[in-house]
Amino acid sequence: MSSSVTAIRELAEREYKWGFVTDIEAESIPKGLSEDVIRLISAKKHEPEFMLEWRLKAYRHWASLQQADAEPKWANIKYPPINYQDIVYYSAPQKKPGLKSLDEVDPEILRTYEKLGIPLEERKRLAGVAVDAVFDSVSVATTFKEKLAEAGVIFCSFSEAVQKHPDLVQKYLGSVVPYTDNFFASLNAAVFSDGSFVYVPKGVRCPMELSTYFRINAAETGQFERTLIVADEGAYVSYLEGCTAPIRDQNQLHAAVVELIALDDAQIKYSTVQNWYPGDKEGRGGIYNFVTKRGKCAGVNSKISWTQVETGSAITWKYPSCILQGDNSVGEFYSVALTNNYQQADTGTKMIHIGKNTRSTIVSKGISAGHGQNTYRGGVKILKGATAARNYTQCDSLLIGDKCGAHTFPYIEVRNSTARMEHEASTSKIGDDQLFYLRQRGLKTEDAVSMIVNGFCKRVFRELPMEFAVEAQKLLSVSLEGSVG
C-alpha cells in the first residue's frame, strides 16, 4: 500500500519540463469570434476565395450548433463551459512566416525548438526525419523540403499548400472530416490557421519520416491546426507529430483536425506523441485537447495505421478513426493513454468497414494514476456490403493507486453475418506484490513502476518509429527495453 502511494506521489511530482515560455513579440488579433475574425484570418493568409467561402460556411454551421447548445456532452469528461469569445484565434511570431531559409527564422524560436529537443537546422537533425515546426498559429520552418521535392513529395505548411497547390487542397480538404462533422471540427474549419500538408505521388515511398512539432506559446490563445495527408496510388508515408505547451494556470483550447486519404495500394502510418501541458497536481491549468482525426482507406488494398501516446492535456477527447472503403483495406489503432493527477481522457477509435475483406485492429492501453480518469470509447461498424470483414480489439486498463478510474465503452454494430469480431479486455492494478518483487531485486520504486508500465505498453510502443518510441518511453519515464531480448 504505502509503496504504491509513494510511487504515485513521485510520478505526480515529476515536473513538466517543457513548460517554459518563449519571450517573443507576437502579432495577435483581439479575442473573440465573428465573421469578421474569420475574414481577418483568411486575409492575413492571403487565401483564395474558395478557402474563405469554406471557412465562412463552417463558421455559420458552428454558430448554429453553438446556438443550439450542441457542444458534445456524451464524453466521460467534466469541465467548466468554454467561453469561445474569450479566446485569441490567431497569434503569430512578429517576424513574417513563410521564410525561405532557416537563417531568417527568429533565433529565439530556433532556440525554443532546440530546447525542446527538436533542432531545426538540417545539419543537426537526424538525417531520416523532416520537420514542420508550428509555433502558435503558424508554421515557422519546414526542413528537408528540397530533398523531399526530388522524390516528388510535397511537405509544407498548410498555408503554403493553399498558395502553391490550391487544386490538391480544394480536392481533398474536408473530404474525410467535413466542416459539418462535429462541433469542434466545425470550429477548426472556421479558424484553423496552419498545420502540415503532405502529398506523396503515385508509387513513391517517402524517403524519410515526416514530422510536425506543435508548440503553443502565447497565453489565452487557442491552437487550431489542420493536417492533410494524401498518399496517392501505391505510395507510402510515415508521419509523426509531437506537441508541448508552457505551464499556465488557465486552460487553453486545442482543437485540431487531421484528414488522411490513402488511394489504391497506398499506406499511411500516423504516429502521435501528445504531451501538451497536463495541468498541475491540483488540476489547475492544462490544455483542453478536442481533436478529430480520421483516415479514409479510399482505394483497394490501402492501409492506415494510427499510433498514439497520449500523456499530456488536462482533457483529451480524441478518436482517430478509419473508414475502410476500399476492398481489402486495413485500419489499425494502437494507443497508450496515461492520466495522472486530475487529467481526464476519453479516447479510442472508430473502424467503419464498408469494403469487402476489410480488416481492423485496435489495441488500447489505458493507464490511470492519481485522480486520473481514463475512458476507452470504441466503435466498430460492419456495413452490409462488408463481406468477410474482421476486427480484433484488445483493450487493457492499468490502475495505479485507488483514487483513479478506468472506463470502457466499446460499441459494436454488425450488419453482415460473415463478419468475424474478437474483443478482449482486461483491468489490472500495479500490486504491492509486483512492486516488492522488483524492489527486492534492487530497483527503486519509481523505476519499478516505470518498468511495469513500460511492459504494459510494449505492444503499442513496438508500432512507433524508433525515434518516437524512445521519446515515448522517456515520457513514461521508463528505461528502454535493451538490445538483449
Binding site: 516488492f436 524492489r439 531485486r441 538483449v484
Partner: protein, 256 residues
C-alpha cells in the same frame, strides 16, 4: 560479528503477533535452514528480512554486516547484498527476463559505484548461468515469469541469484511445487554458489530439500520462536519424529 544478527525480533501482521522474540545469528559462509510447521512464522521472517513494508517490527534488532537492516528499504537491502528467492515469483508482462535481470544487476552495481554492464557483456553471463540451471535460453527473452511453469519460475529465481551474487540469500520455500528433477537442478545450482563469502538461509517445511543442500545448522521455528537448533541431522530427526516433538523439547539457544 555475524553477517546477520537478529535479536529478540517481534513482528506483527494485521495486529496479530507472528514472531515473538526470535534470535538468530548467521556468520559469513554458513548455510542455515529454518524449518517449522505451517503458520509458525517462517515466511514472515523471510519477508521481514527482505524488508516487506506491511510487516511491522514492534521490538528487536536486525543488523546486516553491522548496518541496521530495519532502516533499509527493500531496494537498499538488495543493494547491500540481500537476495530473496520468492515462494511465489511475480509476473511482469511485457518485460523480458533478460532485460529485467540486467536492470536489477545495474541498479545494484550503480549503488556500489561500479560501472553498469552493457548488453554485450551481459549476454554471455546469462548464457552461462542458464546452462548451469538447465534452463532454455528462450526463457530469457520471454516476459518475466509469464506463462512459466512452477519449476521454471523457481529455477528462474535461483538463476537471478546466480547473476546478482548476493552476500545473504534467503530461499523461501524454494522446494515447494518442484518435481524431483527440478529439485535436483535447483539444489545443484545452490550448492555451486556456496562460498566462504556468502551465507544462505533456507526456509522450508520439508526435510526433502536438505538431502540435496546440506545445511550447517538447522533451526526449528514454532509459534514465532526458535525452539530448537542443531546440525544437519536435526532435520532427519524432525522428519521421523514430527514438529510436535521439537515443540515439547526445551528451547535451546542458537549456535554461536
Amino acid at each position: 560479528m555475524g553477517l546477520l544478527e537478529i535479536e529478540n525480533l517481534h513482528v506483527t501482521v494485521d495486529n496479530h503477533e507472528i514472531l515473538k522474540g526470535l534470535d538468530l545469528k548467521v556468520n559469513l559462509g554458513e548455510v542455515h535452514s529454518i524449518m517449522g510447521p505451517n503458520g509458525s512464522g517462517k515466511s514472515t521472517l523471510a519477508q521481514v528480512l527482505a524488508r516487506r513494508e506491511s510487516y511491522e517490527v514492534t521490538e528487536g534488532k536486525i543488523t546486516l554486516d553491522g548496518k541496521n537492516l530495519l532502516e533499509m528499504k527493500p531496494e537498499e537491502a538488495a543493494c547491500e547484498g540481500l537476495f530473496m528467492a520468492f515462494q511465489y515469483p511475480v509476473e511482469v508482462p511485457g518485460i523480458t527476463n533478460a532485460y529485467f535481470l540486467r536492470s536489477a544487476l545495474n541498479a545494484i552495481r550503480k549503488y556500489r559505484g561500479q560501472d553498469e554492464m552493457d548488453a554485450m557483456d551481459f549476454i554471455p553471463l546469462i548464457r552461462e548461468k542458464a546452462k548451469l540451471f538447465e534452463m532454455d535460453e528462450k526463457l530469457m527473452n520471454r516476459s518475466v515469469n509469464e506463462a512459466f511453469s512452477g519449476g521454471e519460475k523457481k529455477r528462474n529465481e535461483i538463476l537471478q541469484m546466480a547473476v546478482l551474487q548476493p552476500r545473504l540469500a534467503i530461499l523461501d520455500e524454494t522446494d515447494s511445487g518442484l518435481d524431483i528433477d527440478a529439485l535436483r537442478i535447483v539444489a545443484n545450482g545452490v550448492n555451486a554458489m556456496r562460498s566462504p563469502d556468502r551465507s544462505m538461509i533456507i526456509v522450508t517445511h520439508y526435510q526433502r530439500l536438505l538431502n540435496y543442500i546440506v545445511p550447517d545448522y538447522v533451526h526449528v521455528l514454532v509459534d514465532g520462536r526458535i525452539v530448537r537448533s542443531g546440525g544437519a541431522d536435526l532435520a532427519l530427526e524432525l522428519e521421523s519424529k514430527g514438529y510436535g516433538w521439537a515443540e515439547s523439547e526445551e528451547r535451546s539457544a542458537a549456535p554461536a
